[in-house]
């Protein structure tokens, strides 16, 4: 078989293949539920209800989506320039670390100054974490996939070390967790009484900013050019190395905001269970959104819904919660194939 590019794909192709991908994902999820001895319709219904069936469920989904929007944007920005940042997890923790360093009483500033300082420091830390692998890539040609992946493990051990050492909360009953943030360092809720903090709004703003950068600025154009064809970009006089480094700074900073927002908005302190793999899930979010920053918001809410829904379904129907990861991985793989099939025709000759 070989693939033949389609110059102008039909509407049926553009909608049909992604729809089939989604259908296959649901079908696969249902068969897993069946395998676990549960009623598939009931299982899917419970996931849906757990994700969006009540005001509480919906807000829970949006809360879970917040860090995923940030990490999804981080991945989308990097992947667009073919910088394979798989280290959003490490950058997230770097951001969380800065939020805790500045927000637990080190600075006696009012909220209006303290929160921006925390966010700025978080972005800087995350940017620096990715700058290392990016420099290794541009200077020495070291593959960034492996280095960013390995960095995740190093960062988690580093945080663990701090949480059992200098950052350990003296009032924490021996648990490896940091002290709590001072009240001025907490992101307030958007509406009083509703469990949704300003981190979500910040994530939406970040998505718009990234969209503006990508579609309205020279840097955005350069990032796309480098991603599409490095040689051509170089030939056209684009400073490829510098563009990759700028992309890394932006991507790392965005991922770090996820850590800042989780600490300042949701948790109030830093512990090792801050992120159940938000950095890795950001890759699914970004791919499902076809690397489009506005799409990232939608796909983050969808992915968060699957997770939150599966948690609540698992409690009710007894199907292991890992069904969420399986369905999302299936969605990812079928979707990248579907997108390819909208652009290529398979020829058997």
């Amino acid at each position: 078989m070989r693939l033949e590019a389609i110059a102008r794909p039909s509407l049926g192709r553009l909608i049909g293949f992604p729809a089939i991908a989604l259908g296959l994902t649901v079908l696969f999820g249902s068969s897993l539920a069946l395998l676990a001895g549960a009623n598939p319709f009931q299982t899917l219904g419970l996931i849906l209800r757990g994700a969006a069936g009540s005001q509480f469920a919906l807000l829970e989904t949006l809360n879970r989506a917040t860090p995923l929007i940030f990490t999804g944007l981080a991945v989308a920005v990097a992947f667009r320039a073919k910088l394979w940042n798989i280290g959003a997890e490490a950058q997230l923790y770097a951001g969380a670390l800065m939020a805790v360093l500045l927000g637990t009483g080190a600075l006696g500033w009012p909220s209006g100054l303290l929160l921006p300082a925390m966010a700025g420091a978080a972005m800087l830390a995350g940017a620096l974490v990715l700058l290392g692998p990016a420099l290794l890539k541009t200077r020495l040609g070291v593959d960034e996939v492996v280095t960013t992946l390995l960095f995740n493990f190093i960062m988690l051990l580093f945080i663990s070390m701090l949480l059992e050492g200098p950052l350990k909360d003296p009032m924490g009953m021996g648990w490896p967790q940091s002290s709590r943030l001072v009240p001025e360092a907490r992101l307030p809720r958007i509406v009083d009484g509703l469990r949704l903090h300003w981190g979500f709004a910040l994530a939406l703003i970040a998505a718009v900013v990234v969209w503006v950068i990508q579609s309205r600025t020279t840097l955005g154009y350069e990032m796309r050019a480098v991603g599409q064809n490095r040689q051509a970009a170089e030939f056209a006089g684009i400073p490829v190395g510098r563009v990759i480094l700028k992309t890394a700074l932006l991507s790392g900073g965005l991922a770090a905001l996820a850590g800042f927002s989780e600490v300042a908005g949701l948790r109030g302190n830093l512990s090792l269970d801050l992120s159940p793999g938000f950095g890795y899930t950001g890759i699914i979010v970004a791919m499902l959104a076809l690397l489009n920053p506005i799409g990232v918001v939608i796909s983050a809410i969808f992915v968060a819904g699957v997770f939150v829904g599966a948690d609540s379904m698992s409690r009710a129907a007894g199907v292991p919660t890992y069904i969420a990861n399986i369905m999302l991985a299936t969605a990812l793989l079928t979707m990248v194939l579907a997108i390819a099939l909208t652009r290529f025709r398979v020829r058997w000759d």
Binding site: V146, V336, L337
Partner: protein, 315 residues
Amino acid sequence: MGEVLEIFLSASFWAAVIRIASPLIFATMGELICERAGVLNLGIEGIMVVGAFAGWMTVYSGGGLWTGVLVAMLAGMLFGLLHGTLTVPFGLSQHVVGLGITLLATASAYFAYRLALPRVTTPPRIEAFQPLPIPILSDIPLIGPALFHQTPLTYLAFVLVGVVSFVLFRTPLGLALRAAGENPAAVAAQGLSVTALRMGAVMVGSGLMAVGGAFLTMSAFNSFFFEMVNGRGWICIALVVFGAWMPGKALLGAVLFGMFDALQIRLQQTSIGADVPYQIFLMMPFVLSILALVIMSRRASVPAALMVPFNKGER
């Protein structure tokens, strides 16, 4: 320093070095085969989890040890088939597909584990592979216990390196495979199918990765638990680069890595370990892997068509 010297002179240290290296050797050979044919397989981490689970589960439910290894390999090959189908004929991004496979494979193993053992808190143990001392040779001081008092899977790992090396560099199949990773158009011009070669490499390679995972549950920890692969797959990818895509050098890398890992475990129990947080020791394997990549970056000879999809009839 006396303490460190003592570690290096103990036979149990060298035995541990080889034991730690063994699963890495299987998985590194698997990744090396894939990459030599032109496919980066980032599914390795998840495929190792699947292998660890499949092998363990087979033995736990009454199967034989070698049946377990076979089941693990077949499970790995199944994920390899999926990876290969998406990346070779369809030419999808090897990064995205690989990470997707890792996620899918890991979650599938965890899901199946929870399904089989819903309420287990302490992971059940199995009767795993026992050391099989080789007569006479295992009596040699220091080297004997290290090399010749291991489980059959470890011996198999070392034999595998020789086999992979032989097939890659001494057979027509190996030549075709390497050519598929260097110059696929030339392979196609010879009337060979690049698709078949690459698919075969990814499936066989994935099978070996799964055996590497199975080593963990069937020859090291004797039970299956979450997070047990813990980045070993990613380290193997670094080892392939470190070994400059040569089986022998990759083996050397795996043994060196085993040495550092065994050393850090033992250093934790010395006076040095009392002063230094244990996380620093645990970081070492990952830091060393990055260092190895940096050191080798100038000399590395990447297969020219690595990560380049081949579409017949396209120039």
